[in-house]
Amino acid sequence: MKHLLYILTFLITSLSFGQSEPLFEQGKERYKEGKYQYAINSWMKVLDNDEHSANLYFNLGNAHYKLNNVGPSIFYYEKALQLDPLDNDIKTNLAFAENARIDSIEPLPKTIFTKWYTMLSGVLGFNGWATLAVIFSMLFVLLFLLYYFSATERKKRLLFVGSLLSVLVLVVSLALAFQIQTDVGKDKPAIIFAESSEVKSEPNMGSEVSFKLHEGTKVQIIENDDSWVRIQLIDGKDGWIPASDLKAL
């Protein structure tokens, strides 16, 4: 039964691949002609087919930027960066879009360790680190066995050190994979879509306004309560905002 399901999903995805590629091409043509809204429509249909890519999100961001939709353009660039965190084109165009947003929020200073950590998590996702762990576990076994069966003293010493090193790398990458996965689970970024939104101190309309946010600002979702979301800014401020005013990445 389960196998059948897999086959079915595979069939459906291969089917939709056939539909999505022309839609992507159509979007490109329309973008070239300057019909940005039509380009967006085509590309959104690709997303409706449950397919995506960093390039698709990047193109959507470009089209929205051309239409001066600051919020959506930042949203799609961020989406693209999630899939491809090292792409310079995306970073450049995101900088263009961020220049056009109204809020400027100073991030809290980071320690050197968090900087390293963000760098490492940017290089490989938790899946990447998991693959690395598997590779090194195999390497360790290979080196260990070679060490065990090798005869000469010098070879033995070299192989032993090699196997120890690969165990070290294995443990580190495994730990990183775990850490990154828990962080990814906690990390719920969202982009403000409303042109201007009041952040309240409590999740109801009548409560006090803490501060105001504008289109395109990136926030972290901490809690959810029906139609209200508790958000936190990168400078540490937090408050409640109607769920309709933002869109989770």
């Binding site: 999505s20 390039n55 698709l56 001066n68 900088a95 220049n99 076994v141 495994l174 042109e195």
Partner: protein, 595 residues
């Protein structure tokens, strides 16, 4: 005698000093009985100068005037008479018997007090309506009226108060009047419309009679509070010339000048609050009828060039009393404090004109900057509705400049030593390859595959180690190796026979062939044509035990025999096992012989 003179002198001295020290401090009232609409004058009189005069608190009266101080000092026949008077004008506030309390003063270190006075206040006394009384005539012929354009306005809606002085044809005003009390308009924003002292005389009617009137002043008021508000009266002191009945030598009527205090009555204004229903969020209190626009002086420029953004509200209403909606601009545009320009005239209908704010904006970075529509809401008291005006979206296109502060690349050229900033970063074009993948991705991390790939190799370590040990043991054990080899050989030859264990004929045929093949392989002799005796002789020659040879021959025999007689499965199985055993044994013995 001497004593008598001495006593006289003493008495005389004492008497004169007593006369000098006689201090008088009295309170006097002009009337002991008066009507409630009349006024009362109280004088506190003393015949020597004193300090710290302390008047009574005139309970039940309102102090209309005073204290007025007067001092008289006269010498008559060398005799000095001095008097100092404090006067108060009082207006009673209630009927009945009222007490005027004690006043006190300090004269030469001693405190003196007046005695209290009781005054009786009766009902209002009618003013004599004597046609010849100038006062009466004046009061009947001059009126001050405050006309309010709208007694029930909305908050911040303009109302006009016009003060008109009506003068009948019977009297005349020749000299100027004096303002005694100017209204303050505490809860209003007010502006007087000045008529620069030019009073134009209009003809009008007052209570159905022909009057002349002048407009003294026009004030535009914007109520700043809701509820019932008072407009304080304007009070004037007007000299009025009343013509009398007497005439002078030339037959002209003699006029009497009367100073009359006239006042426009207190007016109450009921201010309505601006309705809450349908009030837009960005309503900041603008009331009137306005137009709103936002404009820039250029739309395309380079970074660090300045442009101006101007928000303008024009129309009629409380223009000076609300804030213009502020422009919200992207944070990377440097915005300076706006310049506020008002060109507003106040007319009788209210303020009219334009207010504008001009922002100077300097873009820092390259890109397109949309300036979102700015909305402005106001309440129109005429239609009693809110209107929201929205400006057009403006796009500012910054053509040249850095993308962000960090990405600026600065190089110094050798010759001119001039810093050249390269604006390398361009807005990147769309990507042309799709690279699509399904959104629903299975995560490799923590999947069964991941765990098995991670742990599997480690589990392999003991397996490999045990395997290695086994291998070494086998290599060490030569005898066992040979046995295993022979067994393997036998099984190899008998594999076809084993396959056909189901059918009897094929099995025995294969078995026989296998036995012959074995001998052929071992001894390099084709034995199929040999008799059984020949085979056994050959084997014995190869120093094989006779019992094994017998077994081998008997096996061959049973193969032949079984071709023609049916046997059971059990026999087939036992024959097969026997064949394996015999081949193994022979093999072993042949080898032993050869070494």
């Amino acid at each position: 005698m001497k004593l008598k003179y001495f006593i006289y002198t003493i008495i005389f001295l004492l008497g004169t000093s007593a006369v000098h020290a006689q201090v008088q401090f009295d309170a006097k009232v002009s009337k002991k009985k008066l009507g409630i609409n009349e006024r009362l004058r109280v004088d506190f009189e003393m015949n020597q100068d004193g300090d710290n005069f302390n008047p009574p608190d005139f309970n039940g009266f309102r102090v209309v005037g005073g204290p007025n101080q007067s001092v008289s000092n006269s010498w008559i026949n060398g005799k000095r008479s001095y008097s100092k008077t404090y006067s108060y004008f009082l207006s009673p506030q209630s009927r009945g018997k009222l007490n005027i309390g004690q006043a006190s003063i300090e004269i030469e270190g001693e405190t003196y007090k007046t005695s209290p006075i009781q005054v009786e206040i009766t009902a209002a006394v009618t003013v004599p309506k004597d046609g010849n009384n100038a006062e009466y005539v004046a009061s009947e012929n001059v009126h001050l009226v405050a006309e309010v354009s709208n007694a029930n306005p909305y908050l911040n809606e303009a109302i006009t108060v016009v003060y008109k002085m009506y003068v009948s044809h019977d009297v005349s005003i020749t000299s100027n009047w004096r303002e005694i009390d100017t209204p303050k308009y505490a809860d209003f924003w007010s502006q007087n419309i000045d008529n620069q002292g030019n009073f134009k005389i209009y003809e009008g009617e007052y209570n159905g009679e022909d009057y002349r009137y002048v407009i003294l002043r026009t004030t535009v008021l914007y109520p700043q509070k809701t509820g019932k508000l008072d407009i304080e009266p304007l009070t004037l002191d007007v000299p009025i010339d009343v013509p009398g009945n007497r005439r002078d030598l030339f037959g002209r009527r003699l006029t009497t000048r009367v100073n009359k205090t006239i006042s426009a009555g207190n007016r109450k204004i009921d201010v309505k609050p601006i309705p809450l229903d349908g009030r837009p969020d960005n309503f900041t209190g603008a009331v009137g009828d306005f137009k709103f626009s936002v404009s820039t002086n250029k739309n395309t420029l380079d970074a660090n060039e300045a442009f101006e953004l101007k928000t303008t509200v024009s129309g009629t209403g409380n223009l000076k009393l609300f804030d213009l909606p502020s422009a919200k601009l992207p944070s990377t545009l440097e915005v300076y404090e706006p310049e506020h320009i008002e060109s507003v005239q106040t007319k009788r209908t209210g303020m009219i004109g334009t207010i504008s704010e001009t922002y100077t904006v300097v873009p820092q970075f390259k890109g397109n900057y949309p300036i979102r529509p700015i909305t402005f809401s106001f309440f129109n008291p005429k239609t009693e509705t809110f209107s929201t005006l929205s400006s057009e979206e403006i796009i500012i296109n910054v053509e040249n400049g850095p993308v962000s502060a960090q990405k600026e690349v600065t190089t110094v050229t050798g010759d001119s030593k001039q810093a050249i900033t390269q604006f390398k970063e361009q807005f990147k074009y769309i990507k042309l390859t799709s690279d699509l993948e399904p959104i629903a991705q299975t995560t490799f991390f923590k999947s069964t595959l991941f765990w098995s790939l991670l742990g599997g190799p480690i589990l392999l370590i003991p397996l490999f180690i045990i395997g290695g040990k086994k291998r070494r043991q086998r290599l060490a054990d030569v005898e066992g190796n040979r046995l295993r080899k022979a067994d393997k050989l036998a099984r190899k030859y008998l594999s076809e026979a084993k396959k056909n264990m189901g059918s009897q004929g094929v099995f025995y045929e294969a078995l026989e062939r296998a036995l012959h093949n074995y001998l052929k392989a071992k001894l390099n002799i084709e034995t199929s044509e040999f008799s059984k005796e020949g085979i056994s002789g050959l084997l014995i020659e190869k120093s094989v035990h006779t019992d094994k040879v017998t077994d081998f021959v008997s096996l061959l025999k049973s193969c032949e025999f079984a071709r023609y007689t049916p046997t059971s499965d059990v026999t087939i199985q036992s024959d097969y096992n026997k064949a394996v055993e015999v081949i193994t044994a022979i093999d072993k013995q042949i080898h032993q012989a050869s070494y």
